[in-house]
């Protein structure tokens, strides 16, 4: 009786190990096939974003920045990420919509900036504003897409910037980030 139980247990263990090894082999195969693009996660200041592995965490020079990421192959010899997404926040002074609009009213007075479009969007379940504009910089012209929303008296803005030639090509990443953004 006891021997039978022992034999049964050994067979059970061997079967379990076989199943585990088989599952891990399949899992490893799947991982290899998806090695081209992994999804990474970055969480700071109550904001969580998911982004592809060909982008990397960056340090923003703006004092208002919460987090920033850059496309790895867009980093120039000075270490500047030309294609990037920067998440910033700033205390709202007065009405949120007025606060945001005022920024772009000021921008229109500067010939370095050209407002392309403006409208309303929804981001992470919050109503927000979207502005697309171009800027002329030392390195050339860049296009920016800024999505604003308000939370707890703070104006949050998620801004995607890229050289004009690369703007459309990488816009899907920004859209992906916006679709999966979590605001806590």
């Amino acid at each position: 009786m006891k021997n039978n139980i022992l034999k049964g247990s050994v067979i059970f263990i061997i079967l379990a190990l076989f199943l585990i090894s088989t599952a891990t082999v399949f899992s490893a195969d799947n991982n290899n096939s998806n090695n081209d693009l992994n999804i990474l996660s970055l969480s700071k200041g109550g904001i969580t974003i998911e982004y592809p592995s060909d982008w990397g965490v960056s340090k923003a020079t703006s004092n208002y920045s919460i987090m920033a990421i850059s496309k790895l192959d867009s980093i120039d010899s000075f270490g500047i990420g030309q294609v990037n997404v920067n998440v910033e926040k700033k205390p709202v002074e007065g009405d949120f919509y007025t606060f945001v609009n005022d920024s772009y009213v000021s921008m229109q007075k500067d010939s370095s900036y050209q407002l392309v479009s403006a409208g309303e969007v929804s981001v992470g379940g919050e109503n927000g504003l979207e502005y697309i504009y171009t800027s002329t910089e030392a390195t050339g012209q860049k296009e920016h897409k800024a999505v604003w929303f308000e939370r707890g008296g703070q104006a949050y803005v998620i801004m995607y910037s890229a050289p004009i030639a690369e703007f459309e090509d990488n816009l899907y990443v920004f859209d992906y980030i916006l679709s999966g953004i979590q605001i806590t």
Binding site: N86, S103, A138, H144
Partner: protein, 240 residues
Amino acid sequence: MSDDREKLLRVMDNLESDYRSGKISAEKYSYFRSKYEDKLNSIDARDATRRIRSMQGKSPKSTGNKRQRKPTKNKKKEEQDLVQKYIINPKKSDAKYNKKKKPAMDSGTFKLLLILILVVGFTAGIAYGIFNLDFGSLSQGETVAVVDDTAFPEFTENVKLNTSANNQSNYGNYNYSSYSSTSVQTTADDSASNDYDDSSSSSSNSYQSNQRQSSSDSDSSASNSRSSSQSNVETTTDGN
């Protein structure tokens, strides 16, 4: 015959004392007691029959011997059996009162099986964790680049200045912040100040360079302390 009775009474006394001391259960006690009482009654009945026969003048030996021969032969053995059966080792004969439920498997095997199941469970869990945890997503610490773009730039208004013939431009009122993108572009008559460099609009790849290229005269009042800025102030000089 009276010996049998006495012995039976002794056995019953023993039974009684065993019951009182808790050696046997109440069920067994009542079972054996009723058996012994039956035997005692049968002995009493036999004694009574013998007495009646003797009173009738019949010899009790003729029939009694025949009848008693058999029991008396095995009397000792029967007693021993009784004592053995019901008192000393009741398990053998009365199994139904002594049934102990044996566990389906003994505790050693059960423990071994339990340990094996736990080991397999832990192994499976660890393997699942190792092969499904995305370690890449945990490494967020290293920064790979610097991001200059911001949604809160400081804008600079473009202003056209008409200066007098003395070719003096005033830049002092403009804000050259680190985020402004301004460049100085000077337009002048040929006869006037040729000191201005027409190539001022060309861009530089240096982020620290100052793109402001202006005349060599006294326009140094402009703020040159800015970094990564490009002034874009159009100055129209009247050559007359």
